[in-house]
């Protein structure tokens, strides 16, 4: 009797989509579920700890609202800056071959692994009043430290790699064939970029942008170090959460949940949009 093996394997057959053989050993679901719980449980725990009766009051305080507004504004701006700088970077990395390309790519990745506080210090060393770029910036009378611009810079610094890495992958997998056809039809490179390349990678571009938006939204360490924490100017939601945690843990949790909620909504919505347009 081989019934045991066979019966077990048909378990998932109630789902009509699973008519194709997945070939996964059954034990693999154990670590997969443990891993899933390990990530999901903490989020559940936070929700359970929340005093939902006070939720509305907590997130509606003037300082919370100011932080939320600032966060959405700066994250959105950072996303735009990431697009402006990151799309060309991804295109050059994906379409050109040059010596040291691998090193450049791994340098671009570095902010992913740098503790954000160190990133903030590095930004101060560069764009601060006595920083590396100070002579140039003074020449033009630009001073960014401790302004909303500094917040955007800090967020861009940590979010840019997300955009570049994921967009480069998309560009490579889409390939260059349509671009070549457009060129032989007489389209100059800028036209090809605008009318062919960008429309083609739109779904990938959207999800890369969202990833960078979400990362900017959660940015804390680099912001507090480089931009400081002034209500309405540089105090974004993560900084507000940090400050609130001194006095009112509930408020901090409430704001964290808001942050998570925004992140999940944005990623799920974009994922479903880009899946649809790929289908």
């Amino acid at each position: 009797m081989t019934t045991t093996v066979e019966e077990a394997s048909v378990r998932s057959s109630r789902d009509p989509r699973s008519r194709l053989y997945s070939g996964l050993p059954r034990w693999i679901y154990l670590p997969a579920v443990i891993g899933g719980l390990f990530v999901a449980l903490p989020l559940v725990a936070m929700m359970l700890r929340m005093d939902w009766a006070r939720f509305g009051v907590l997130i509606a305080s003037p300082s919370s609202l100011a932080a939320l507004t600032l966060s959405l504004q700066t994250s959105f701006t950072s996303m735009l800056v990431c697009l402006v700088l990151g799309v060309p970077m991804a295109m050059v990395l994906a379409r050109e071959q040059f010596p040291g390309q691998r090193l450049v790519r791994s340098l671009v990745l570095l902010p992913l692994v740098l503790p954000p506080v160190v990133g903030g210090i590095a930004l101060l060393f560069t764009f601060g009043r006595h920083g590396l770029a100070a002579p140039v910036m003074n020449l033009f009378g630009i001073s960014v430290a401790f302004s909303t611009v500094a917040v955007v810079m800090a967020q861009t610094f940590v979010a840019l790699p997300f955009l570049v890495v994921s967009l480069e992958g998309t560009l490579r997998s889409v390939g260059q064939r349509y671009e070549l056809v457009a060129a032989t039809l007489g389209a100059r490179p800028s036209t090809v970029l605008r009318k062919v390349t960008l429309p083609l990678v739109l779904p990938g571009l959207a999800s890369a942008a969202v990833l960078s938006f979400a990362r900017a939204l959660g940015e804390f360490g680099a912001t507090i170090t480089f931009a400081g924490s002034l209500q309405g100017v540089t105090r974004t939601l993560p900084l507000e959460i940090y400050l609130q945690s001194y006095t009112d843990t509930d408020a901090a949790i409430a704001l964290s949940l808001v942050l998570m909620f925004v992140a999940v909504v944005v990623t799920v919505v974009t994922a479903s949009i880009s899946e649809r347009s790929l289908a």
Partner: protein
């Protein structure tokens, strides 16, 4: 120029240690009422982060440190317009969860082996104070963690993760009923001083001085006393 001319709007920028948040938020309201047209911008962060920012060229009128060490960083850089003055002091307290599971009542109780104690790392002000107390009393603490910030100590006590933590009295009061504070006499061995200074490059020097004056006024001192601070020196 700014403060004397009520018709103009001006902004006073204060870099203040995060531990000042509650008191300064109260004083901000008072100050803005007394100086119509003036907005007080409060940049709260760790004293050390603020000091770094100032040294790296940030523009502010007043710097309020949680301790002398970070004030020294700023004065050593020659950023001060006058000598710093101490407007409030602070003392350590033992913070325990409201249920006080380890039944702590004295400083010596902290050395009991089953007590999970968290303190601040010696590099941060509250940790430095802790070391001073240890030295003065000859008691050696064996903490399970030396945190980087008061908040980290508090949040671990609040979560019940630690049985006791050593933090400032003001932090205990700010935390409300999520922790219980236990005074201990040995804390007088390490009084922490909160200095304030007007900065040389202050765009609003007069307003800044007015803020400093407010800190030392009777009204200001009452706010600090309510929050658990000791008097100015």
């Amino acid at each position: 120029s700014g403060s004397a001319t009520p018709s103009q709007t001006s902004t006073l920028t204060i870099y203040a240690a995060a531990s000042m948040q509650t008191t300064f938020d109260t004083l901000k309201t008072t100050f803005e009422a007394e100086h119509p047209g003036t907005t007080v911008m409060l940049n709260y962060a760790g004293s050390q982060a603020l000091a770094t920012q100032l040294v790296e060229g940030a523009t502010a009128d007043v710097f309020v440190s949680a301790n002398d060490t970070q004030m020294k960083v700023v004065t050593d850089a020659g950023l001060n317009a006058a000598d710093p003055r101490v407007f409030a002091t602070n003392q350590l307290q033992i913070a325990v969860p409201p249920s006080n599971p380890a039944a702590i009542s004295t400083f010596a109780d902290l050395t009991k082996p089953e007590v999970k104690l968290v303190v601040c790392a010696p590099a941060v002000p509250c940790g430095a104070a802790t070391v001073k107390v240890e030295k003065a009393t000859g008691v050696t603490l064996t903490p399970v963690s030396e945190e980087q910030a008061v908040t980290s100590v508090l949040s671990k006590v609040q979560a019940g993760e630690a049985d006791a933590g050593l933090v400032y009295k003001t932090d205990v009061i700010a935390a409300g009923d999520t922790v219980t504070g236990i005074e201990f006499p040995e804390s007088s061995e390490a009084i922490n001083r909160n200095p304030v200074v007007l900065l040389k490059s202050a765009p609003q020097g007069e307003l800044g001085q007015a803020w400093i004056d407010l800190l030392f006024s009777e009204q200001g001192q009452q706010v600090f006393a309510d929050a658990g601070f000791g008097a100015a020196q």
